[in-house]
Amino acid sequence: MNITDFAPWICWISPLIGALLTLLSRDNTVKGVAASSSVLVSWISALLMVPMVSTNQALNVKSGWIYLPEGEPTSLGMLVDSLSIIMVNIVSFVSFLILVYSTWYMRREDGQTRFWALMSLFTSSMLLLVLADNFILFFIGWKMVGLCSFALIGHYYRDEERYWIGGPPPSPFQKPSTCALKALLVTSFGDVAMLSGIILIFVYSKTFNFVTLLNSSPEWMLKMAQSPGLILASIILLLLGVAGKSAQFPLHIWLPEAMAGPAPVSALIHAATMVKAGVYIVARLFPLYYNTYWIVGIQEARFFFQIVAFLGVATAFLTATEAVTALEIKKILAYSTMSQIGYMMMGLGAAGLSQEATIAGYSGSMLHLLSHALFKAALFMSAGAVIHLTGSIYIHEKSLDKRRTRLIWFFTWVSVLSLIGVPPFSGFWSKDEVLAACLESGQILLFSLGLLTAFVTCLYSIRMMYHVFRVDAKVHDGGGHTHSEEEPVMVAPIGVLSGLSLIIGILGYWFKNLFKEIFHGFLSMSLRLETYPRGEWVESTLIPLSSISVIAIASVASYFYYVKYRADYVNLIVRNPILEKLHKVFWNRWYIDKFYESVFVRSILSVRSGIQGKLETSMDVLLNIGVPGIFSRMSQILRSMQTGLLSVNMLYVLIFLAVMMIFLLVG
């Protein structure tokens, strides 16, 4: 027995036990400690798995679980390979830090039992999702994280006015419970589509297991390809689930509202981990469709990569522009999260579209996942601190006093620079890798839109930073004393995460190549290419140069626009009709939300009364009076058979015997 046989189990079961422990104790501190330490155990066991990364072996620890008459038994199994190990480490490490931060953030909040139990349960489900070796177990984790996310967004379910988001007037406000419901509805729509996709695949492949699915893919994919459109249908169904969970276009509308929950929730679920689940499953299924397209030669499989790339780039650009106009600090970060996940999708899509870009795209997108988890979690935690200290969710109302929050100021800047992609921060290397993959795969459109998004990213980031740490007026009332308002429990996690962004960035070149090595090994194990075209990774100066210059232009522009002239956006757009129009479109999120609302919500509501009047009432009578009436009549008849008289009973026996005899001997 090897330690790696147990580590994956301990990894996801430990937070589950932690969740139960939090329910048992009455003391809030104990709850926090129980939850954090159980996640710490997960992280340690995740670290124990790290040596496995270099071996390029997939370890599939199985035990029987559910059997279906046709097809392979579905196992209660863990799949440990490079991909899942890296994911597990990111998830457990970031979760641990965020839970530590939560002990500070949540110390005076209501509903701590709920909060801690759900956070632990979430971590457990997320780890299960990542470690699962089959679609069923994966889907259980997938739904569980969705459920936890719903409950945690609605943490302030009493809808007190101070927890409302949205606005400022004249824009409408949203209540936390509505936001939670929106998240649940949108993601569930994707989940149902995904489940049908999974079942569609099962019908042809007879297995849910990822490894078997990949190994037997040539056979069942060929079978599936015989009915044209079926592979495309399965791809679309699966990717709808991905789009829902990872907040990608066209199901991206829920994430901005998901910020109604407490800041640690946003940091953990809606930035660092859950929204990456979609990226994870795309990366997990990547070899499957890659083999099908490049080796088996089924053209339909190409759609997988095309759709992924398209979704990624569309989301990246759309949401980045929306972030430029947003006024709530957490909303800006939410838009930015979607935009950055778009980059990851873009990288994965580009990786599948060309053999030259495969490794660069895959490892780049994974590296971006890592660096995004680090800097975005740090940013959300800083945002939580900012909101906590200033008491305002908007960036333009109040700002922090730099003198009293020096550490937060510093760490936030580090994370923001990483987000923008300034060398030598980690975001620079990962974003460049993704852009390089786009260029190498010959997708000029992807590349140029990606570059444009980098430009917009720089704009909104600097705008946010300028507003939050403005030196001029309206600093929040600190009462004049200048002692620090930072507490170690709050600052330490932010510091660790942004410090890691910096360290990975400084070691960036080496780290990038390490990831390439890892995923080169991983992909050469799972892809059926004899000799893998290693590709001339464009180490040319073109990409870094172009992205740095784009950022430079953007920062100069935003410096002049936001900082130097202290542009008041209201004055500016009033003067310029084009900007005013753009602002309106961005502020209304390209009218996508409004479109969904009028198509799905209003239209359904408008036919409701007619349906209720005509159909509902008659159905009601039929179902609630008619059917029970029939059954109770039948029940009375049958009960009259039960005479209780022994002679009648024996008569039944005799009749039965005779009838059976006649039927059997005649028939």
């Binding site: 029987g64 046709e70 059954f631 029940s635």
Partner: protein, 487 residues
């Protein structure tokens, strides 16, 4: 000859009545109870040690383990499932009886009969010829007549007992008649001998007659419609501990015996082609569920629901394939624990409230939350709510019917689950209603009653989440039964 655990069970049943000569009268109840708990636990422990020993041998490659069902099937495994159910239900019933039967007298006999009953079931499960099967069958039947009529001062239970005795004796007679026919045709009662003789015979109508007689005989015990008439009365009148035990294992042992003997006869008769069995299965489901809809007596309602569940199990018999029998045995196992919890809880209400009437139970959930939540779990599992074990076995029954081209059986299973929700949910509604005034002074059932209830509830939840152990057990048992006649 006998397995060690069977000897233990027999020994305890013989020793039990003599206790009253040793222990003083007011302590006799406790003494019997402890003794019976010791008996069932030691039988379970010895049995598990036996299994573990065999697993060890398999792991050391001394015994072969070539087939795909893993370790368990390396040795004769058809009785393991029945053994586990019978013994654990026996153990749970004994623990439950400590408090539940405290107001009754004659308890040495009660426990002795319980042991005899289990002994009959165990012997039947491991029988390899029709003679042994019949002897143990009678042992089980006779002891269960007396258990039903155990409260001899109540006219209700005496009446139910007599009805049960007469009908079941008629069944035994038909079984015996069927066996004589088999003997006439084949000249032997040994399973292997019968099977090889039947293989030689091309067609003999007498075998069909024998099959009908066996079907009627076992069917009376299994409560096939319309032979079920004894069952609602018996379950209602028997002490709840006995209702739980009988519903959990005694009735379905009839089904098990039926499967076992049909498997031997299947060398001459194609069981799958006897469409009457599937008709019976559907009739049972519809009858049980519809008759239960308007009941006002909780135990009677559960009794009708047992009839419906026998119908579900018959699906597997009528499709007669490996997945089908596996699903039937799986449902047998799961149903045992579900019904055990339901009847135990009904008994707990009887113990506290002194009534079986649903109408007098309004709001009992607010004063007996532990018992009520266990009952709700078991009822939801009966409906087939995931992730409880009832869902798993219904799923496999459905899949088995679909696979062998008898989808209409699966569909009627689904329809019936919906109908059954009608009365299960009605129970839940009554339990959760605002409490009526007669509830004011009630309190939670005593700990001795709650513990066995929860012990069984754990099984319901655990095997819903992780059905693999029972499933592989049921699968190996099914494949063993299907190959009973082979050399």
């Amino acid at each position: 000859m006998f397995t060690p655990s069977l000897i233990i069970i027999f020994a305890f049943s013989i020793v039990m009545p003599f206790i009253k000569f040793i222990v003083s009268t007011h302590k006799i109840h406790l003494a019997c109870n402890i003794l019976s708990i010791i008996g069932f636990s030691s039988a379970l422990i010895i049995f598990s040690l036996d299994i573990l020993e065999k697993i060890r041998l398999v792991l050391q490659n001394i015994l072969p383990s070539s087939n795909p069902y893993g370790i368990i099937s390396a040795f004769d495994s058809s009785e393991i499932l029945i053994f586990l159910v019978a013994n654990s239900l026996g153990l749970l019933t004994s623990i439950y009886s400590l408090k539940y039967m405290e107001r009754d007298s004659g308890l040495p006999i009660y426990y002795s009969l319980l042991f005899l009953n289990v002994a009959g079931i165990l012997g039947l499960a491991s029988s390899y010829d029709f003679f042994t099967l019949f002897v143990f069958w009678e042992l089980m039947c006779v002891s269960s007549y007396m258990l039903v009529a155990f409260r001899k001062s109540e006219s209700e239970s005496i009446e139910a007992g007599i009805k049960y005795t007469i009908m079941s004796s008629a069944g035994s007679a038909t079984i015996l008649f069927g066996l004589t026919l088999i003997y006439t045709v084949t000249g032997t009662l040994n399973f292997q001998g019968v099977a090889s003789a039947l293989k030689a015979i091309s067609f003999n109508p007498l075998i069909y007659v024998a099959l009908v007689f066996l079907l009627v005989g076992f069917g009376i015990k299994t409560a096939l419609f319309p032979l079920h008439t004894w069952l609602p009365d018996a379950y209602m009148a028997a002490p709840s501990s006995i209702s739980a035990f009988m519903s959990g294992i005694v009735t379905v042992t009839g089904l098990y015996a039926m499967i076992r003997s049909f498997s031997v006869l299947s060398y001459a008769v194609d069981i799958h082609s006897i469409w009457l069995i599937s008709v019976l299965s559907v009739l049972n489901m519809f009858f049980g569920n519809i008759a239960a809809l308007l009941q006002d007596d909780l135990k009677r309602m559960l009794a009708y629901s047992s009839i419906a569940h026998v119908g579900y199990m018959l699906i597997g018999v009528s499709v007669w394939t490996l997945p089908g029998i596996t699903a039937s045995l799986l449902h047998l196992f799961n149903h045992a624990f579900i019904k055990c919890v339901s009847f135990f809880c009904a008994g707990a209400f009887v113990y506290r409230l002194g009534t079986r009437k649903l109408a007098e139970m309004h709001g009992v959930g607010r004063v007996m939350p532990l018992t009520t939540s266990a009952l709700i779990i078991s009822l939801l599992s009966s409906i087939g709510m995931p992730p409880l074990n009832g869902f798993i076995s219904k799923l496999y029954l459905f899949l088995a019917s679909m696979n062998s081209g008898m989808l209409w059986l699966g569909l009627s299973l689904v329809i019936n689950s919906a109908i059954s929700a009608g009365y299960y949910l009605r129970i839940i509604r009554v339990l959760m209603a605002p409490k009526s005034e007669n509830m004011e002074k009630m309190k939670e059932a005593p700990i001795q009653i709650v513990v066995p209830i929860y012990a069984a509830t754990v099984f319901i939840i655990f095997f819903g989440l992780y059905p693999d152990p029972v499933f592989s057990l049921a699968q190996s048992a099914a494949s063993h039964i299907l190959s009973l006649g082979e050399g």
